[in-house]
C-alpha cells in the first residue's frame, strides 16, 4: 500500500476489487474475521471473483478512474510461528514472517516481503525510455495489539535489497462489529514513506526527463492517510461475501510528473465472493 505506484496500476485495481483492502499486514483480515483476541492464525486457501472501481491519481488513466473484474487467489500457512501470506490483505504479494513474541494482548512479527514492481515502459506509452523500477524486498517488524474489538498495529520496514534503500512505516487502528452474521470492520491508518523510497518509485531523473519529456522530480518523504469500511458475510461454510469502500489521501505522492491524473484523494469500492478451502 505504501508503494504509490501500486495505487494506479491494474494490479492494485484488482486488489481493490477483490481483496478486501490493500492495507499492509493482515490486520484487515483479523478485523474481517472478527478476531476478538490474539488467536492462532488460520491456514486457508481462497479463490474468488470480484469487481471494483477506483478514482484517484493515475499514471495510465487520463481521468484517474478505473473499474474491472477479476479472479483472486489468497492463502496463508502458519507453522510453529513461521507464516507465509500469499496475496493476503497486504500491499506485498508475498509476506514471509516469524511470530517472535505474543501474549494475550501483544504480538510481534518479523516480516519480509517483496513489493510489486514500479513504473516501467509497459505501464504507459508516456514512459518509453524510463528506467524500470524493480520491486523492493522490505524487511522489518510489526507490532500488533488486541484491545477487545480494537486492533492497533505499527510497522517499520526497510528495503534490504537496496534498490530504493527506502524505509516505510505505518500505524493502523481498526475495529470490528458483528450485527447478526454480518461482520463489519473499520480501519484507518497513516503511512510514512521516506524520501529515498518515494524518489526511487516516483522520481524522474534528468536523463529520464530527456528521454520521455516528463518533468524532473525528486521524491520527498510523504505521509498519507487511508481508511476503509467493509463487511464480510459467511454464505456457507466455504463461501464468503465481501464488500469494501476505501478512502485515502495522496498528499506528498502525486506531485510527480509520472501521474497523468493527479488527485489529492482517492476512493475505491470493491465486492467479491470467495471459496475458502
Amino acid at each position: 500500500m505504501y508503494s504509490p505506484v501500486k495505487k494506479i496500476t491494474a494490479a492494485v485495481l484488482l486488489s481493490i476489487a477483490i481483496l478486501p483492502s490493500a492495507y499492509s499486514a493482515d490486520i484487515a483480515r483479523s478485523l474481517r474475521n472478527n478476531t476478538l483476541e490474539n488467536t492462532e492464525p488460520d491456514n486457508f486457501f481462497e479463490i474468488g471473483v470480484g469487481a471494483g472501481a477506483y478514482v484517484g491519481s493515475s499514471m495510465s488513466e487520463a481521468d484517474g478512474k478505473d473499474a474491472g473484474l477479476g479472479v483472486n487467489l489468497s492463502a496463508s500457512y502458519n507453522w510453529k510461528g513461521f507464516f507465509i501470506d500469499v496475496f493476503a490483505e497486504t500491499g506485498e504479494p508475498v509476506v514471509i514472517g516469524y511470530n517472535a513474541y505474543n501474549n494475550d494482548v501483544w504480538s510481534f512479527d518479523l516480516v519480509t516481503g517483496t513489493t510489486g514492481d514500479g513504473v516501467s515502459e509497459d505501464t504507459d506509452d508516456r514512459f518509453i525510455g524510463i528506467n524500470k523500477r524493480e520491486s523492493s524486498s522490505m524487511f522489518g517488524g510489526r507490532l500488533t495489539g488486541y484491545f477487545g474489538q480494537n486492533i492497533l498495529q505499527v510497522s517499520l520496514k526497510h528495503d534490504v535489497k537496496g534498490r530504493s534503500k527506502g524505509t516505510v512505516a505505518s500505524a493502523l487502528l481498526g475495529r470490528n462489529w458483528q450485527y447478526r452474521n454480518w461482520n463489519f470492520h473499520g480501519l484507518m491508518g497513516l503511512y510514512l514513506s521516506d524520501a529515498k523510497f518515494n524518489d526511487y518509485y516516483l522520481g524522474v531523473t534528468e536523463e529520464e526527463s530527456a528521454a520521455t519529456g516528463l518533468e524532473t522530480y525528486d521524491g520527498k518523504a510523504s505521509l498519507t492517510f487511508n481508511s476503509s469500511l467493509g463487511v464480510t458475510y459467511p454464505i456457507s461454510e466455504n463461501w464468503i461475501y465481501r464488500a469494501t469502500v476505501g478512502f485515502g489521501s495522496n498528499f506528498g505522492q502525486n506531485d510527480t510528473s509520472l501521474f497523468q491524473k493527479r488527485r489529492n484523494f482517492n476512493a475505491s469500492i470493491g465486492t467479491s465472493i470467495s471459496y475458502v478451502f
Partner: protein, 137 residues
C-alpha cells in the same frame, strides 16, 4: 410336500421378521424424529466461537392429541407449550456459538419424544495462541 412347504414358509417368515424388525425399529426412530423438524438446520458463522444468528422454524406433529412442549435441551428451557393439539409450529431467533439440540416432550415429563439439533458451523476456525515469551531472543 406340504410339510416342506410349511417349513420353508416358517423359515421365510422368520427371516423376514429378523430382517424387517430392526429396520422397522429404525424407521420408527426416524419417524419419531421426523415428528419434529427444524428449518434451516444449520447456522454458519464467520469464525469459530462467534455467536451465530439464524431464524428457524420448528414444526412437529404427534398421533395423539395432548399437551406438548418444545425444550432447549442443554438449558432445559421450555420455549413453548401447546395445549390439546397434535401439531404445532414455532419460530425461533436462534443465537448460539455451538450446536444445540431441541426436543419435543409431553408437558410435565422429561422423556424426549423427538430430538432435533441446530448445527453451528463456521468458515474460519479460531484457536487460542499459546502464551509465550520471546522466542527469538
Amino acid at each position: 410336500m406340504k410339510l416342506t412347504y410349511r417349513v420353508n414358509l416358517t423359515a421365510m417368515v422368520a427371516l423376514f421378521a429378523c430382517s424387517v424388525f430392526p429396520v422397522t425399529a429404525e424407521s420408527e426412530q426416524r419417524q419419531q424424529n421426523q415428528n419434529l423438524v427444524v428449518s434451516p438446520k444449520r447456522c454458519v458463522a464467520l469464525r469459530q466461537g462467534q455467536i451465530c444468528y439464524q431464524e428457524v422454524t420448528f414444526r412437529w406433529q404427534q398421533l395423539q392429541v395432548g399437551n406438548y412442549c418444545l425444550v432447549e435441551l442443554p438449558t432445559q428451557v421450555i420455549l413453548k407449550c401447546w395445549q390439546q393439539v397434535r401439531s404445532g409450529e414455532f419460530d425461533l431467533d436462534f443465537q448460539d456459538n455451538q450446536s444445540t439440540p431441541f426436543a419435543l416432550r409431553v408437558q410435565g415429563q422429561e422423556q424426549n419424544l423427538s430430538v432435533v439439533p441446530i448445527t453451528v458451523s463456521w468458515v474460519f476456525k479460531s484457536s487460542k495462541r499459546p502464551k509465550s515469551s520471546w522466542k527469538l531472543f
